[in-house]
Every structure is written in structure tokens, then in C-alpha cells.
Symmetry: C2
Subunit: 490 residues, 2 copies
């Protein structure tokens, strides 16, 4: 078909871009670095939102909404926070346009804001300024709030879904009476993300904590889930932060404890974004297009009729109506592609490109034999099966596909965690095989920076299942207490 | 209780504000004119979203997402559009902050945008610029897309939910091959809104079309639903626009027709916003607080135990567990308020303030008698009923409450549509009774402007069930072909 995409081996980056565009997921807009998420891509994001939102509510959180704009002065209140975000802020300076008299629309200089407003890159500051009014005593805690919102970070080099100036996300912001409770919350939400990645995205992840150098601006501890893409690069898929009392101190948020003492409140924040779309696409897809895990596929089953006469078509239609009703009763989303403007081969390629997990083709002879042809998108295998009990079979098959996609990604990931014991080995593995490299490191920012400069690899995380092991840093020879994971990353 | 609110008769506007704040729906933020929607208020908005979104999908629409920012030049392309929005635009001019060397965070003048970006007040321009790339032939039409998003209109005088600088809404943007199809779409979506207002919000609305003067900036026809608040003021609750070919021409969006001709595409747009929260609050609530129709209430039933001993409490707990399970199985959201820090009377007042439709109180004697006390929020009536078959009774009662709230609002609205035949009568009704005033008008913008200046009343709409009737304009004596509705409005 005309919508051919570049192969992964030829140019991985171009393959990704082709896929996003040609599978109708997203495109660049007229605004530098901002994307348009097209209906097919947005339908996948909606499925992600709905599953995550349910989990957030099950774990006791409520949604709320905070302003898009943040007064500039708020940023200055938490030192490392402003340092982390100042260089990528969209700044609103005026609130009116006018006609300059010659028909041109210009900014009205009389409508200059006294204090500039920042388009939120993240909402800790405006939210903690708000929480100040909500919290007086320990009875007001915990506050367990989440927000679904758009945020803006003025990135210079952008890629659809992975890095865009505007993106969509959710940001949880919780307030607690004790450090222990806040740490437990941050860990709980990391586990919610990890489970979502593995069970829904079918992407295995490593749960870990970031090194000081890689932490969120303002956090005492950043927990992360790290996924591996098919090109051997890592992708940070979600983070959950223990913020200590940093924002409470910056915005003077205290509570009266049970013992009657005034104490600063403890905080967490946690988020995942439309970046997950990038992870989803790169983890599973192939040279024919998207491979979507059934739990996220907007269309789980596509049915294509193959016929010559109107009578054959009518015959197939009647059967498909019955089958579709059975599938829908099982909460399976079905599309019957009976367009008469395209040939079956074109349709097959189109739905492969769009990653529909299962294709059902039905010809006139199938109708005589009481069969259909099932084609799996993930394994690209076909089989002819009986129409008898078909909907039950499809329900089971979709579960199997979900699991197979996960297992395949897991196998690839596990094969791409390599222990190395020297810098030579480190560089060789990085260049030839890629993936996560498990090695001893001396724990200093200086070494991290040097390694990044020389190899582009960064520490991805200190795994939560970190094992104490005496060793020496492969870069400096200094003593080390255990292995951490390095990788090149998105 | 301490959370007393101003009465409606005392100060309607203060009553509204008290209610929004004290029922924990929303509050002003640190950013001028922007609100924080608190969890309880947001839960109501989420219910609205979910019901509307389902209807949009049932009528064939898909969701998508377009950029927050719009290049300034896009606005200039549709003349009446820029005229309508230029004076209330938040303008992004820079993309970086920096430390000025003395520790102050300032805008980095080296990071000035070549072209300013407008924070979207509505998205017709960026969307039609995008549709240009999506449409070649009639086969690409119709495009039926909706977006849930935040928008910014720099209002000088703001009120929570009713008029805020940033608000949340949905905006549908559709593209069609013919004018007829686009008009049918605009009318269909108006009917979706009207049905939602009446069946879900329990707010009766008048379906109509706006006069030329009151149309959306860029529309050929604006359809509207107009609701009436308890103070006799009208509130525009949703609009649906037939945009003709205005935006297609501004952004050069043509398609090849079946006949092979190049034609401009026809457009609609339609939206409702968090303003509906204001309509909901003002249409039904009373001096004790919110009155929520069951279909939108985040908590539909609150259960309050009344007990002295631990044994009595344990006895009530066991019953409530069973009752709650039955209600949840019927998709009813229940809260068991067994806080031991507050007395029953305090709890009653708190849930009245928050508009919970039905309260179940259970005391020790009730447990002996096999009864409970049911209290309806809408009518403020109480009755003692048997525990036997209680969940079935509650399901039916919630439906009855929904209907009663609607009928009450309908009666009030119908009593407040007054036909007048002179300007004297018009002014008298406006000042004493308020509501919609049905009268003859000469159809000119000049008369509308004069009437607005003199009385603050505006044309709300020409009702869709407009009857031709010969008459004379009550303001100018010029001939008129039928009655239109005037009112003071939010």
C-alpha cells in the first residue's frame, strides 16, 4: 500500500515518526513543538486515562483542577524547582491584542501584566499555595488529589509524544502528616504505574529510585519505572516523588499535630503523560505498523468481508451482525470494514498499520464451510476456525495476545540487561547491544556527568530490589556498594 | 452550624458565592480571575463530562486534542472572529526565565518569540488550519471531532464558574460537504445539550437562535439553550454554531466534490463549559445550601448513624454494610458518615449544604423497630419507613427527586415568561418580576443596543418554535413579524 513505513533496521527514528503519522496517531501542528493528537491516537490515550483514573480512585484519590497559570514569583520560592524549570517556561506578559489602525493585529502594550504568568510546566507551586488554605490541623490530612491537565515545557528538540512543548498528563499532589506516610504514598503510586505498564501497556518496567542528579527538581527522592525500547534505549515511563517538606516550607504550609504542635506538611507528587504513547508504540510495533495490546486497542477486532456478489455480501452481513453483537456483549470493540471502495488486501494492510490485535476475514466459501479466518497482529499467524463458539474463542485469544505481547517484550528486556565489570566492556555493550547495563558506580554526580559526556549513557535507576555487593566503580575504581543501571535513554 | 450562608432574599449574589465556597465546589486562586475547582465540585463536573461524552460518541463524534497556543496571525484571518476575541487574549511572548544575577527570576529578553502565541480562547482557527491537511475529497467528510480542554478569556469582572479567566469546556468542530448537513449537525448538537440540561441538570431550557448581534464571532447562525435562574435572570447554557464557509475560506480548506468540483468546506462548532456548574447551582439551590439532582450528585445517599453505646453502633454498622452493598449494586453512590468527631445535627446540616439528595438516619430505636428515617433534600420532608425493601424504595425515590426538581424549575420558568405589549410594561416586568419577556421587536441591532443601555436586558433568543404573528416593536413602533425573548442575563 501507499502508506509504507521505513523499516526499523533502516532508520529507527524515522520508522517511529512514520508510524505515528501514518497510523493517524498524531502530527505536528502549526505551533512549534506542539502536537495535534488525532482521534485514533486520542482514543488510545482515553483508554489509558480511564484505566489509570479508576486505579487512582480505588487508592483513595479525587480529581480537582488548578489554574493553568502560575505567578512568576511562585517559582522563585523553591530554589531547586525554579532552577529545574526556568529555562523552558512559556511566559504570558500581556492580556489583550488590538488593531494597530492599519488592519494589523498587534499586542496592546497598555495591557501588560504587572507580574508575568508562567504556563504551568508542573503544578507543585500553585497547588501548595492553595493547600495552605486547606490545611489547619492533622484532621485535614491526608489530601489525596490528582489533576488531569495540559502542561508546557519549552523543549528545543521535539519528537511526537516523547518530547513536545505541550503535553497531556496527570499529576497527583498529596499532603501528609508524616514522612513515612508520604513515602508510602509515593511508593504505592509507583506500583500503580508499574502494574499499569505491565498489565495494560504490556511493557515490563524496572522499579527503581533516581540518583540525586536525576531527581525531580524539588524532590528528596524520585521513584521511577524504566522501560526498554526495541532499539535498546531506555524510556522513563512514570515517576513518583517524595518531596519532603520542601514545598510546605516554601509556601509556609503547617498543620497542628495531634500533640498540638505546629509542623510542616509532607508532600508527594507523581505523574505519567502522553509520553506513554511513545513507550507503547516503540515497545511492540514492527515494520508493518503498530502492534497494540488488546487492553488499549480502540478497535480490538476488525472484520473484513470477502465476496463477489450482493447475495454473498448479504449472507456475510447477516452473520457479522450476530457475531458483532456477541462480541460487544463481551465488551469487545469491533469494526466491520465493509467499505466497497477498497479491496481486502488494502484493508488488511491498513488495519495492520493501525495495530488492530485480531482480524476476522470471512469469504463466501467460509460461509459454506461454517468457518472464518483469524489473523493475529502480534504473531502474524493465521488460522481457519469454526464459526461455532467463535466469540468465546476470540475473548480468550485477545487475552492470550495481551500476554504474548508482554512476554515478548519481557524476554527482549531481560536479554538486554547486561552486567559489566569494566569501562571497556561498558562502552562495548552500549555500542553493540544497548539496553540496561548493570555495573558498579562510585555514587558521585561527577562520574555520572563524565560518563554521560563520553558515552551519552545516564544512570536510569538504583533498582528497588538493589542487592548490596562489594565492588569498585568501573569508571573511577572507587569503592561501590552495589550495581546500578545505566542506559542511553529517550 | 458555622458554615451558614447568606439567604437568597438578602443578597442573591452573595448567597451564590457563599454556596460555591462553603459547599467546597471552587475557590479563587492566586491568579487573577482563575479558579481552583475543588474535589467535590470537580466530581460533579466529571459526571457532566461522562454523560455528555457518551452522547457525543453515540452521535458519531470522536475526541482529539489540538494545541493550547494559537499563532497570533491565525486570528487575523477571520475578521469578525478576531474582533470578538482580541480584547481578552492572554499572550505568550517569551519562552524562558533566567536568574538576573542578584537572585531574582526575570524574563529572559533573549528568548522572545518571533510571533506571539495566544492562549486559546476557542479553537476554530488552529483546528481549521489543521483540517486543511486532513481534507482532500468528499470521502474525507464529514469530520466529527470534539475536544475537552481549558480555554482562557481575560475577563475583567469574574465570578466563580459563571465567568472566569480560565475555564474548562468541550468544543466540537465538524466539517461537512454541504450547508444542509452542517446546519443539521448544529441543530442536532443543540438538542443533545437541551436534553442533557433537562434530563440531567434538571434545568428546563428554551431552544432558540441568537440575533445577529448576539452571535458567536464568525458564525452565520448561533443556536442557544437559555435557562432561567431563581433571581429571574437568564443564563446561556450552551451554544451550537453554523459557521458557514467562513473558516474554510480563511484557512483555504477545499474539497473535491462527487462531481469533481473544488468547493469550500462547511463548518459547525458547539460547546458547553464549567458555566453549567453555575446554572446547576443557581437553578435549584436554597438557603440551606446546594440541591443536587441525583443524576449529578457525587454522593446520592448519605447514611448517618445515631447511637449512644458501642453495641448500638455495631448493630447499625452491620445493617448499613448490607444496605450500602445493595445500593452500590444498583449503581447508587453512598456515603456512611460515621465520624465520631461530629454530632448528627452537624452532619445533617453539612450534607444539606452539600446537596446530597437523600439522607438516611438510623437510630437505636429504628433498629429495634426495623425502620429508618428518610429525609429528602429537595422537599425537606422526612418520613420513617421500613427497612424491608428499602434499597428498592431508595432507587425509586431518587428518580422521583430528579423529576420533582425538574418540575419545580419548570413551573418557576413557565411562570416567568411574560408577554408584554408596551415598553412601559416591559420595564415594569423586568424590574418587578424578572424572567423572560416575550415581545415584538423590530429586528435591528440599534434597538437591541438601546434597550440594553436603558434596561440591561438583551435579546436571549428567537425561540425555535417561533410563531409568525403580526405586531409592532414595543420600542420603536416599527412592524414586527413575531415575538422574541428578552431578559437580563448572566
Amino acid at each position: 500500500m501507499s502508506k509504507g513505513i521505513t523499516s526499523r533496521s533502516e532508520d529507527y527514528s524515522q520508522w517511529y515518526n512514520d508510524l505515528v503519522i501514518k497510523a493517524d496517531l498524531a502530527e505536528y501542528s502549526a505551533v512549534r513543538g506542539c502536537m495535534v493528537i488525532k482521534p485514533y491516537g486520542y482514543a488510545i490515550w482515553e483508554r489509558m486515562q480511564s484505566i489509570l483514573d479508576k486505579r487512582f480512585k480505588e487508592t483513595g484519590h479525587s480529581n480537582a483542577y488548578f489554574p493553568l497559570f502560575i505567578p512568576k514569583s511562585f517559582f522563585s520560592k523553591e530554589a531547586s524547582h525554579v532552577e529545574g524549570f526556568a529555562t523552558e517556561c512559556a511566559v504570558v506578559t500581556h492580556y489583550r491584542l488590538k488593531n494597530d489602525g492599519t488592519g494589523n493585529i498587534v499586542v496592546d502594550e497598555d495591557a501588560k501584566l504587572e507580574e508575568e504568568l508562567i504556563v504551568r510546566p508542573t503544578s507543585e507551586t500553585i497547588i501548595w499555595n492553595t493547600y495552605k488554605g486547606w490545611i489547619e490541623s492533622y484532621r485535614d490530612l491526608p489530601i489525596l488529589v490528582n489533576q488531569w491537565a495540559n502542561v508546557v515545557r519549552w523543549e528545543m528538540r521535539t519528537r511526537l509524544f516523547l518530547r513536545t512543548a505541550e503535553f497531556l498528563w496527570q499529576e497527583g499532589h498529596t499532603a501528609h502528616a508524616t514522612a513515612e506516610e508520604a513515602i508510602a504514598e509515593a511508593k504505592q503510586m509507583l506500583e500503580v504505574y508499574a502494574e499499569f505498564a505491565e498489565k495494560t501497556l504490556a511493557v515490563p518496567v524496572i522499579r527503581g529510585r533516581k540518583t540525586e542528579n536525576e531527581r525531580f527538581a524539588g524532590a528528596l527522592e524520585t521513584f521511577t519505572i524504566e522501560a526498554l525500547m526495541q532499539d535498546g534505549k531506555a524510556l522513563q515511563a512514570g515517576t513518583s516523588h517524595f518531596l519532603g517538606q520542601n514545598f510546605a516550607k516554601a509556601f509556609d504550609v503547617k498543620f497542628t499535630s495531634k500533640e498540638g504542635k505546629q509542623e510542616y506538611v509532607w508532600a508527594t507528587s507523581w505523574g505519567v503523560s502522553t509520553r506513554l504513547m511513545g513507550a507503547l508504540i516503540m515497545a511492540h510495533s514492527d515494520d508493518k505498523g503498530l502492534v497494540l495490546p488488546p487492553r488499549l486497542a480502540p478497535i480490538q477486532v476488525v472484520i473484513v468481508p470477502i465476496y463477489k456478489t450482493d447475495e454473498e455480501k448479504a449472507n456475510i452481513d447477516a452473520y457479522v451482525e450476530k457475531l458483532s453483537a456477541e462480541l460487544k456483549a463481551n465488551d469487545i470493540s469491533v469494526k466491520y470494514d465493509d467499505r466497497d471502495t477498497q479491496r481486502p488486501g488494502f484493508k488488511f494492510a491498513e488495519w495492520e498499520l493501525k495495530g488492530v490485535p485480531l482480524r476476522v476475514a470471512i469469504g463466501a466459501r467460509d460461509m459454506q464451510n461454517g468457518t472464518v479466518e483469524l489473523a493475529r497482529r502480534d504473531t502474524q499467524t493465521k488460522e481457519t476456525v469454526s464459526q461455532e463458539g467463535l466469540s468465546t474463542r476470540i475473548v480468550a485469544l485477545l487475552q492470550e495476545i495481551q500476554e504474548t505481547i508482554y512476554q515478548k517484550a519481557l524476554k527482549f528486556r531481560d536479554e538486554h540487561i547486561t552486567e559489566v565489570n569494566s569501562y571497556e566492556e561498558f562502552k562495548e555493550v552500549l555500542e553493540t547491544k544497548g539496553g540496561f547495563i548493570s555495573c558498579h558506580w562510585d555514587g558521585t554526580v561527577e562520574t555520572e556527568k563524565r560518563v554521560k559526556e563520553e558515552t551519552k549513557a545516564t544512570t536510569r535507576c538504583i533498582p528497588l530490589d538493589f542487592q548490596e555487593e562489594e565492588g569498585v566503580c568501573i569508571f573511577t575504581g572507587k569503592p561501590s556498594k552495589g550495581r546500578v543501571l545505566f542506559a542511553k535513554a529517550y
